[in-house]
């Protein structure tokens, strides 16, 4: 019991340290997608909902499983999709159907 707790605690503390260090100096340009991307990661609580499902044995348990599953799935799927949508806009190079003269856009690729 206590050995497991220590292992989990060590994992927790070290993950906190990783979290602090992995965020470098982010340009404010990326603050919004970065926040959304971090948001998606805590959707991992979906794995928690899986455990809940495998243990549930009462109506209340089933109800909570449903709720946890729905909320967590919304977090994880919505989070990754919307982040990707935002970031894709940052990288794409005017592929839009607009009738704009792209030649002019290209002339300043600095």
């Amino acid at each position: 019991m206590i050995a497991t707790l220590f292992g989990n605690l060590a994992i927790f503390v070290l993950s906190l340290l990783v979290g602090v260090e992995v965020i470098g100096k982010i340009p404010s340009t990326l603050h919004t997608p970065m926040m959304s991307g971090a948001n998606a990661i805590h959707g991992v609580v979906l794995a928690g909902a899986v455990i809940t499902a495998s243990l549930a044995n009462s109506p209340l348990g089933y109800a909570l499983t449903f709720v946890a599953g729905a909320l967590a799935a919304a977090n994880v799927f919505g989070g990754y999709v919307v982040t990707d949508r935002m970031l894709q806009m940052f990288t794409r190079r005017a592929p839009a159907p607009s009738a704009a003269p792209t030649a002019d856009d290209q002339k300043d690729p600095s």
Binding site: N8, S15, I26, V45, L46, A100
Partner: protein, 473 residues
């Protein structure tokens, strides 16, 4: 621990590594998208490993699995549809909603674990403490994020909402939540106590966010994002799942750092925001249309602006909160393209806190297909203003207020765009009303400035139409 559990644990470590690599890559625009995909890969691995583990070790009933599949399908559908269809101007509130559901899910997982053990012996402290912490944090973040989303969406008033005795109710709610929590831990198997914790925490979340001004909501959303991470980590402790602990702690810490960086870019203190301090009023409501002196102002028509633009060589567009509010990003991009097509050099000068949240203006313009290279950040833009014929300011006020260079006013010391270095300035907004900081901008009455009073969306469309007259294509 069985060998099987060990293998699953190693898979979790692999997933954790992918999360870290993903976050690392998200630091740069060029690699950010790949980073997000790698992070999603880690997520898939973690969830699948947990499913395999649960199928092998627990002999749960099919009803539980059915409930999960139905719930997950519904949630996934909701999430994907909203993510795909959301307007880019509404991103902040959607992120807040996804944050709310994450916190809610973490609370539900912990609650279910508590219920499971409620009929038997009282829970071990190593389970009951994280469960209670998870329910508290998860519930606060659930209700708080929903309120923040409502404020950002405009469903709930953006101005601080308070009522007599709000502070007392607030303190009471958190005291009740904590007291019931301690009891729940001591007793160890009383579900009713946990329900009290849940309700009091939900109430606290609502009361915590209500008094915060709409403009400060982005920082609160980011902070609650970090909280959700901690709630998920607590859920991981409760059900002994390392994937949850690692990912939750990662987001908790990374989110905290990001919140601090964001607050710094906005020149705000996180503590002051949470305590609902200075300047929480939203611009539009706080300064009514009082008798503004228009005598010193040079008013322009769409036609006047079009002439100036058509005969300029270097144009700088300065988008502000008003552009986002009017959702005029497509109109401005179209105007810029028109000018570019006629050999006029057009760039955007983007202040870190222009828009509804840090970095949001870049997302909006990117949505309107503005190439990343045309968006100049503060420092680059300030070099370019010296060489700029016309600066076209759209719905902005504070981010170029020259008074920021003087001490003793609300924007003092805030880094600003040097719009006043441009040869001539056009400011498009609806009135002489001040912006978020509530102070007027001396540039409005500067001789080289012309004011064009209009709604951003309508005004830009008019300018575009007029420009077309001068530069027939």
């Amino acid at each position: 621990m069985t060998l099987f559990a060990f293998v699953i644990g190693v898979v979790f470590l692999a997933a954790a590594t992918l999360f870290v690599v993903g976050l690392h890559l998200m630091r740069l625009p060029s690699t950010a998208r790949r980073g997000n995909l790698i992070s999603a890969g880690g997520m898939a691995i973690a969830v699948i490993a947990t499913i395999v583990f649960s199928l092998v070790t627990a002999n749960g009933s099919w009803i539980g699995w059915l409930a999960l599949v139905l719930g997950a399908a519904a949630g996934a559908a909701f999430g994907i549809v909203r993510a795909r269809t959301v307007k880019m101007t509404d991103i902040p509130q959607l992120v807040s909603i996804f944050n709310a559901v994450g916190g809610g899910a973490a609370a539900a997982v912990a609650f279910a674990d508590f219920v499971l053990h409620s009929s038997g012996l009282r829970l071990d402290l190593t389970s009951s403490i994280p469960i209670v912490l998870d329910v508290v944090i998860g519930s606060v973040t659930f209700s708080g994020s929903l309120i923040a989303a409502g404020k950002l969406q405009g469903v709930i008033s953006g101005s601080p909402i308070t009522f007599p005795g709000a502070r007392i109710v607030n303190v009471l709610a958190i005291v009740i939540a904590l007291a019931a929590g301690v009891f729940a831990i001591v007793v160890g198997n009383n579900v009713l106590l946990l329900v009290v914790v849940l309700l009091a925490s939900l109430l606290f979340g609502v009361l915590m966010v209500l008094p915060i001004g709409g403009a400060d909501a982005p920082v609160i959303v980011s902070l609650l994002n970090a909280f959700t991470g901690l709630a998920v980590a607590m859920a991981g402790f409760a059900i002994n799942n390392q994937a949850l602990i690692i990912a939750g702690a990662l987001v908790g810490a990374a989110g905290t750092i990001l919140t601090l960086q964001m607050a710094k870019a906005m020149n705000r203190s996180v503590l002051a925001i949470v305590l609902g301090g200075f300047g929480t009023g939203d611009s539009s409501s706080s300064a009514p249309d009082d008798a503004q002196d228009l005598s010193n102002v040079r008013e322009l028509t769409a036609d006047d602006v079009a002439v100036q633009l058509a005969y300029a060589q270097h144009v700088m567009i300065v988008p502000g909160y008003g552009l986002a509010a009017a959702q005029a990003q497509h109109e401005i991009a179209e105007l810029a393209k028109l000018l570019l097509a006629h050999g006029i050099d057009v760039k955007y000068a983007i202040h870190p806190v222009a828009g509804r949240m840090p970095g949001h203006m870049n997302v909006l313009l990117a949505e309107a297909n503005v190439p990343y290279e045309q968006m100049l950040q503060l420092d680059e833009a300030n070099v370019a203003f010296d060489n700029c014929d016309v600066a076209l300011v759209v719905g902005a006020n504070d981010v170029y207020n020259p008074d920021a260079r003087k001490p003793g006013n609300p924007v003092s010391g805030m880094p600003i765009l040097d719009v006043d270095h441009a040869k001539s300035v056009v400011i498009l907004k609806r009135s002489m009303r001040p912006g978020y900081a509530g102070i007027s901008n001396p540039l409005f009455t500067d001789p080289k400035t012309g004011m064009f009073f209009a709604d951003a969306k309508k005004g830009i469309a008019d300018i575009t139409a007029a420009v077309k007259e001068y530069v027939p294509s």
